[in-house]
């Protein structure tokens, strides 16, 4: 909401400077987002038109001689305004001046005539929308002096963020009330005049359903001549971001901005009665913007008893639009059901200053006052007369606000500061509440415009915010001690993160969405996804089922400039439940990617996972080969993840040029797996001996199988672990194993170890046809 300070000052004296006022408003709950100072009109000087003759090559243009400095040669300026004439004092912009629209004025040749400047209209100086003619200054204006002296003063406008509960602040007077309350000043009471004609207003109004429209007030003004509203009014509308249209429409907008009541004026030539009803199914109306709108039974419409004249609270119909030819108007000032207005405005995409106010609820006392005010302005600007009497349907008397009982102890208990009876009363009264004290409690009747004050806690907040929270003492609650349980998901994720960082992997985070295309590119499309109903772009179409696609994309980008990429993400994925009435499963996944030539990325990631799983000490963990290039991670027969080389197809998609491996592990499930308590082994008394043995295998044998066979050979074999594997030139496969021997009872001699090695060689030959190479 935009608040021009000059307008505010009509309702309340303001002694603070704009910055101080903004700060005071902000810390009391009306956040000032910006203090806007409209640019002063600069660089425009007063000139005198000495002569204005018709342009030789254009009927509508005049070539003017304009004097800018006494006793100096006049300048030649081409001007298109119909009202320019010799003898006028005018506003002249010289070449080099930046106009209100941001363009710099240049010397120009207009249809063969040099033009050395411009005589300005209002719009060109940012003073209004008027472009019908140039500004003519009073004769006293002196040639050569800055024109700003004769033009309206630039406005200072506060831009406020008004919260949805405070519809009452969406007006100049509403904000004036706030300013009065926070600065402890009195409002200037504005009594608006009303002069009615003796002729009676015979318009009949009816409301079909009082819930849709609790009150409808109409006045009739006849014999008007619709022109423009006064310049200072237009300037105010513009300062509030409202475009001036004509005097009648401007008057309704002006009063809406001033008092908060949105109103509508109908061209009333043909309208004899008003009926407020629900729209019929598929009823149509052409609105002011020229669009044909399809209505629904949930929409409220204003009708003449037969056809719709306007969509209530949202937009008028084209047929009854007030134009410059309008002589008689019906002025509507009403309240409508906030929810219906909101739904209709949202559905039609027609949210406006008016609908915004209706949907937040209006002061029930406002409709009458605003109707009078706007009719008075219309007759002041357009002539004509206000017919005697209002047509009213619905609420005749003000609903009686319910008093709220407030205990002082409650105020103190909630705020944590001691507020005296007197201070609390004073704050509430500053907000125009009626306060009755009995003992330590108050009976508080809020003013009619504060629809948000319903319960004691609402009053606690009012008292608190006027005291400025920044002056409150600070305290910390005494938190009762108890055993704290860390969610296992969290501790597992946290531990995993640390372990991966130590392994040289960098953590990334990616979006929870991906596109339909991504899903099909990565062969995920045949699995069910949750779809976003209102994605802002195709990349937000689906909730991710897997971390893989985005992680690979990052790896692809990073791989362009790096020899090695090692990244991981820990994040949720979304698996829709069988019946999609239920919330999806949201497992926390660990995704890992390694891209590099050497060492083999698959072995790097597998090593990282082996280390991670070993550190958790799971009871039964296995990694099974599942396809040619991938393996499945299984704990106690439950698959919890996969690890695999990134195939050519995906590599191409994300432009990976080097070998890559990806793994995705379900950490939520990992967190549930059974663990064995960690027990350390007693330190060996006698040293271990290791031998590296390389075998030439005729065909690939799973590592687990090699280990099984070798470990059976002798109890002195402590461990077997492969460390190198490659194809020999003769087609055989070389597998190098590190074998550790140890005895609990003695230091092993070379001979003893050699004996076992020989046995291993023999068994390898027997089982796999393998030759010992070294």
């Amino acid at each position: 909401m935009r608040l021009p300070l000059d307008w505010l000052k009509e309702f309340v004296p303001v002694r603070l400077n704009p910055a101080k006022l903004a700060e005071a408003l902000t810390v009391s709950g009306s956040e000032v987002e910006k203090i806007e100072t409209q640019a002063e009109v600069t660089g425009i000087v007063v000139g005198e038109v000495l002569a204005a003759v018709k342009h030789p090559n254009a009927d509508r243009l005049k070539v003017c001689e304009v004097r800018l400095v006494n006793d100096q040669a006049p300048r030649q300026i081409v001007c298109g305004a119909p009202n320019v004439a010799a003898g006028q004092k005018v506003c002249v912009a010289l070449p080099g001046t930046v106009l209100a629209n941001g363009l710099e004025l240049k010397k120009a040749n207009i249809r063969g005539v040099e033009s050395d400047g411009m005589i300005c209209a209002r719009d060109e100086l940012g003073l209004g929308a008027d472009h019908s003619g140039i500004i003519v200054l009073p004769a006293e204006a002196e040639v050569g002096e800055p024109a700003a002296k004769w033009l309206p003063k630039p406005k200072i406008v506060l831009e406020l963020d008004i919260t949805p509960n405070r519809g009452d602040c969406l007006s100049i007077r509403g904000m004036a009330r706030e300013v009065a309350a926070i600065t402890g000043t009195a409002l200037k009471i504005q009594k608006f005049r009303l002069s009615e004609a003796p002729e009676r207003n015979n318009l009949k109004v009816k409301i079909q359903n009082l819930k849709d429209c609790p009150q409808y007030v109409a006045r009739v003004v006849t014999g008007i001549k619709v022109g423009d509203s006064p310049e200072h009014i237009q300037a105010r509308l513009l300062a509030c971001g409202v475009r001036p249209i004509n005097a009648v429409v401007d008057a309704t907008n002006y009063v809406m901005l001033e008092l908060g009541q949105p109103m509508h004026a109908f061209d009333a030539e043909k309208v004899k009665t008003i009926l407020v009803r629900r729209a019929k199914a598929n009823e149509k109306i052409k609105t002011l913007d020229g669009q044909n709108r399809n209505l629904q039974v949930s929409d409220i419409v204003i009708t003449d008893g037969k056809k719709s004249l306007a969509i209530a609270g949202i937009m008028g119909g084209a047929e009854t639009e007030v134009s410059r030819n309008t002589q008689k108007i019906i002025l509507e000032s009403a309240r409508f059901d906030p929810v219906k207005i909101r739904l209709t405005a949202n559905r039609l995409g027609l949210r406006s200053e008016a609908s915004n106010r209706f949907e937040k609820g209006l002061d029930p006392a406002l409709a009458l006052e605003a109707a009078d005010r706007v009719c008075e302005l219309i007759t002041a600007w357009c002539g004509g007369k206000i017919l005697k009497g209002r047509s009213i349907a619905g609420q005749k008397r003000l609903p009686k606000p319910k008093p709220i009982v407030l205990e002082l102890a409650y105020v103190n208990r909630m705020l944590g500061v001691k507020v005296s009876i007197k201070a609390a009363k004073q704050k509430l009264e500053a907000l125009q509440c009626q306060v009755l004290i009995s003992g330590q409690r108050f009976k508080v009747t809020p003013p009619s415009f504060r629809l948000d004050l319903l319960a004691p806690i609402d009053l606690v907040e009012e008292i608190g915010r006027l005291m400025n929270y920044n002056t409150f003492p600070l305290s910390l609650p005494a938190i009762p001690q108890k055993l704290k349980i860390v969610p296992v998901n969290l501790s597992v994720s946290s531990f995993t993160r640390k372990r991966l960082l130590a392994a040289g992997f960098t953590e990334v985070a990616t979006y929870s969405f991906y596109s339909q295309k991504t899903a099909s590119d990565f062969d995920l499309a045949d699995q069910t996804h949750l779809s976003v109903a209102n994605p802002l772009n195709p990349d937000q179409a689906l909730l991710r089922r897997s971390i893989m696609p985005q992680l690979l994309e990052i790896a692809g980008r990073a791989g362009i400039t790096r020899d090695s990429v090692k990244i991981f993400e820990i994040g949720k994925v979304f698996w829709p439940s069988e019946q999609n009435r239920k919330l999806p499963d949201e497992p926390i996944m660990l995704g890992l990617v390694c891209v590099q030539k050497q060492p083999e990325p698959y072995l790097v990631i597998k090593g990282v996972l082996e280390d991670l799983l070993a550190s958790f000490n799971f009871r039964d963990v296995r990694i099974h080969q599942s396809t040619q290039t991938s393996a499945r991670l299984v704990i106690a027969n439950e698959p919890i993840g996969i690890i695999g080389r990134v195939g050519e197809k995906y590599a191409k998609l994300v432009k990976l040029k080097k070998p890559a491996t990806f793994a995705e592990i379900d950490l939520s499930q990992l967190a549930l797996a059974q663990r064995t308590p960690k027990r350390i082994k007693s330190l060996p008394v006698y040293p271990a001996v290791t031998r590296d043995l390389a075998f030439a295998l005729p065909k690939s044998v799973p590592h687990a199988e090699l280990v099984r066979v070798i470990r059976q050979i002798d109890p002195l074999i402590l461990s077997v672990r492969g460390f190198d594997r490659y194809k020999l030139p003769n087609g055989l496969l070389s597998a190098a194993l590190k074998i550790t021997f140890q005895s609990p009872g003695k230091t092993l001699t070379n001979e003893e170890v050699q004996r076992i090695v020989d046995k291993i060689a023999e068994e390898m030959q027997k089982n796999f046809g393998a030759e010992l190479r070294s």
């Binding site: 902000t26 810390v27 709950g29 910006k34 949805p164 509960n165 405070r166 739904l343 937040k360 909630m414 944590g416 806690i457 609402d458 606690v460 907040e461 608190g464 929270y469 920044n470 409150f472 600070l474 305290s475 910390l476 609650p477 938190i479 009762p480 704290k484 349980i485 860390v486 993160r497 991966l500 960082l501 392994a503 040289g504 992997f505 960098t506 953590e507 990334v508 985070a509 990616t510 979006y511 929870s512 949750l530 779809s531 976003v532 209102n534 994605p535 802002l536 937000q540 909730l543 990052i554 990073a558 790096r562 990429v565 990244i567 991981f568 820990i570 019946q579 009435r581 919330l583 949201e586």
Partner: protein, 338 residues
């Protein structure tokens, strides 16, 4: 034999003194005291000597060897400083960096925030990112078709049954937690949240909040203010903060916390929209209606809640001027964090 030992000793001492380089000294050492050196050779003859001659020779040999060892050690020191100024050593040469990964700044911050709140006595709770509209709005005192819903631009999901959405805030965790727990309750709930809005340097569709909920007897607004001040002091030192009344339907009194913009030091910049202040979080006393929805009696208990916007905080901590960097997966950004 005795004289031979003497002679070897004298000769070696002389040679040690005339040695010029460290490697010569090494060679000399091996030739004398090495496993097959002169000394060892000499001693290997010892068993063959008649017992009379042998007497005392062992002791002498040992003493002599110790003295020689000392002489060598001494001489070695002579060559030490030479190592420092030799060409193969430059103490300013860059060290070999350990190959460790980098934590994402958001998860790093969440971990430190959890530490901070655990220290105060808070527990950690979790909740789903896909929520029912009922938990994200209705039970938080945000009725359907209420203008206050405009405060949250929302991603809705296509599903049958009750309306699902991507939670716009971590506050639904409050309701979920209170379905299973009774006061006193002091929890935090970090997690992802979503807003249906166009992205720019200051706005993301996907961001992180840390929700806090405290419910106990006699909790008051000043407890909330004190807790928030402590949090900001912990992470930012003596930075200027400001409490500003604000409206959130699930709290009352409700407020926002602004922090003086650290990027421009309050002078005004595009990030703080030239106001000098940055909105960091929303907070307030739990609304009595919400307490009732949690089946907690508002006349016996009170509570406070807040939702910290993590990205904003991290941006200020590190001087990050574009929120989109957090999810861009640009390693040049991420590798700047430890």
């Amino acid at each position: 034999m005795r004289t031979e030992i003497e002679k070897l000793f004298q000769e070696t001492i002389r040679q040690i003194q005339s040695v010029k380089t460290s490697s010569d000294l090494q060679a000399l050492y091996f030739s004398v005291l090495g496993r097959k050196g002169k000394f060892a050779q000499l001693l290997s003859r010892l068993p063959n000597l008649p017992p009379g001659e042998r007497a005392g020779l062992g002791t002498l040999a040992n003493q002599t060897r110790n003295k020689l060892q000392q002489a060598f050690d001494q001489a070695k020191l002579k060559f030490k400083p030479q190592a420092a100024d030799s060409a193969d050593f430059d103490p300013t040469w860059p060290g070999i960096l350990p190959e460790v990964g980098h934590t994402h700044p958001i998860s790093a911050f969440i971990e430190s925030a959890i530490k901070f709140f655990s220290g105060l006595g808070y527990e950690v709770a979790e909740g789903p990112e896909v929520e029912y509209s009922r938990y994200n709005f209705d039970l938080l005192n945000i009725p359907p078709n209420h203008p206050s819903r405009d405060l949250w631009d929302t991603y809705y999901l296509k599903n049958s049954g009750p309306q699902m959405l991507l939670r716009t805030q971590t506050s639904p965790v409050q309701i979920r937690y209170m379905e299973k727990h009774r006061p006193p309750v002091f929890i935090i709930a970090p997690g992802r949240t979503y807003r249906h809005e166009a992205t720019d340097a200051g706005h993301e569709t996907t961001f992180t909040q840390i929700e806090a909920l405290a419910i106990d007897k006699n909790l008051k607004l000043t407890d909330l203010l004190g807790t928030l001040s402590a949090f900001f002091q912990h992470f930012f030192g003596n930075v200027k903060i400001r409490f500003r009344p604000h409206y959130y339907p699930f709290v009352e009194p409700g407020l926002d916390l602004d922090m003086a913009c650290l990027l421009c030091h309050g002078k005004g910049c595009p990030v703080c929209k030239y106001s000098g202040w940055l909105e960091m979080l929303g907070a307030g006393m739990v609304h009595p209606k919400v307490l009732k929805n949690m089946k907690v009696a508002p006349n016996r208990y009170s509570g406070f809640a807040f939702g910290i916007g993590v990205e904003r905080l991290v941006m200020l901590l590190y001087g990050i001027t574009d929120i989109r960097l957090f999810l861009a997966g640009d390693l040049r950004f991420l590798e700047q964090f430890t």
